[in-house]
Subunit: 331 residues, 2 copies
Amino acid sequence: MRGRVLLVHGGGGEETHELIHKLFLRHLNNPVLSELGDSALLSLPSTRVAYTTDAFTVSPVFFRGGDLGKLAVAGTTNDLACAGAEPLYLTLSFVIEEGFELEKLERIVVSIAEELKKNGALLAAGDTKVVPRGQADGLYLGASGIGRVVYEGLSPKKLKPGDALVVTGTVGDHGACILAEREGLEIELESDCRSLWPMLKKVYEAGFTLRAVRDATRGGLAGVLHEWARASRKDLVVYEEELPVKEAVRGLCELLGFEPYHLANEGMAVIAVAPEEAEKLVELLRSTPEGRHATIVGKVEEGEGRVLLENAYGVKRLMEPPAGELLPRIC
Amino acid sequence: MRGRVLLVHGGGGEETHELIHKLFLRHLNNPVLSELGDSALLSLPSTRVAYTTDAFTVSPVFFRGGDLGKLAVAGTTNDLACAGAEPLYLTLSFVIEEGFELEKLERIVVSIAEELKKNGALLAAGDTKVVPRGQADGLYLGASGIGRVVYEGLSPKKLKPGDALVVTGTVGDHGACILAEREGLEIELESDCRSLWPMLKKVYEAGFTLRAVRDATRGGLAGVLHEWARASRKDLVVYEEELPVKEAVRGLCELLGFEPYHLANEGMAVIAVAPEEAEKLVELLRSTPEGRHATIVGKVEEGEGRVLLENAYGVKRLMEPPAGELLPRIC
């Protein structure tokens, strides 16, 4: 579709109808989504479900390695997957700035369709609002998702002394990429924006004794670990030298004075696993395309809810929690 | 809470944590919502569910008869209720403009809590993003909801010649109210923003032979009827003199050149019912506080998908579908 989004496209009249049919349904139609905007009627495979929501406001809307549409689907399905659930259905609400190019909107809708497919999930309902020029900075997406629980009992409260902490990929990629794009830096950096369900499905099926799984997004690895330390009232020790960080991410962090573990990921999970199974878990993760940089990066200890960084000499210091306006509109 | 929302409140760090605990969880906490932002794990009472989403961008955020929070909950639960489902769980994502007053945000959160209670529904998950000053015009809400289907088979495709068309309340109240607020007109007008589940629950339990139920929001009564006419390929005839319209709404429409049936409602449903049950249905509706202006306003005829207005002399003319930028950001 050519042209630009107009206020009339959000009015609920004939123009809205046309936008829905010619753009949204063209790429996203499926048996449960007869018409965007209505309730979908679904027969779920189970009564035990995970249910999540996120708003996505990333700037810029298109970035190396993804766009707002891919991010919204990956971010929502990752929340479900990390709760032990198979993503089944998503909803999306579009808040579009008047004047946004229809061609860009279509690229985003195509990304959404592709990413849903990777998860085997369907769009169940949608909504479109158009706001006057100057608002919404192009496009915001509101997403929600329902998944079928396939692995029960994940909770950071279950962390036990000795448990291993595993990251499934390199740390801080998405945040570093967005930072570089905004600063106009010519660095070869790509967001890790991707869906984790294909990888986590294998992990759940293998029957590991998992305590907790969480994707590190806003707040980064530090955000996840501080939340877990607080919930479990255990100390979490991170082996500083073991953290997998891409050269370009490390370089950017040194340049701008950030720590990689404070930067967001959008396709990396942190997993707490029984110690005797940690090596096998890493082996499985590394056999998948999403998990080829999987590494054991720390352990759980008796303690008081602190997160500690341990260097090569065994010296420990506190890992700062994420705070301040690290990077608004990172996701 | 005093003060204003800052960019740091959306950073995913300590400040986000504080906002969630001191403001959101204070009013919205419940057993399934352990921490906003995570997936909720739910055991649904049934595998047969309705699932919906909407974005809410109404301007102004506070209006006579409601606010953005009440509107988001009522709008979402009304979508479920009109699909024949009992609202169970909602999610909400907040996109807040930097500088928005925390006191206003709290008033909205209190409205959300109150409206959820009227539906017997719980907030299952939430998310907060803060965008820089000048964007989001205060606050946008993205909502989704899941409900348990209690009345199966509602569809405008089921409309049969002879069926009666019933409205559960006066036409155009929300749109007229927002219009008056924006024009600064001193008219005694209140939005009909309210949850329909308490009323529709009684309708479903009474076992009427219902064909279709839909709440008239964006696009108004005309929007619903045109969609039904298109889906059923029947003609829908509306008795012009029977349309219940408040005096103030009629006056405003004459002043500004609108038709009440093009203006949004936010607490009025259109119901197609078997003709022999129409009077009984209206009687039941009128016994509820939400339905005291319920009226039979039309009927279904064989035809070609038109919506016709019939005046007191039996003369018919086409009812214009809603089109153009009637009123952006009405909901």
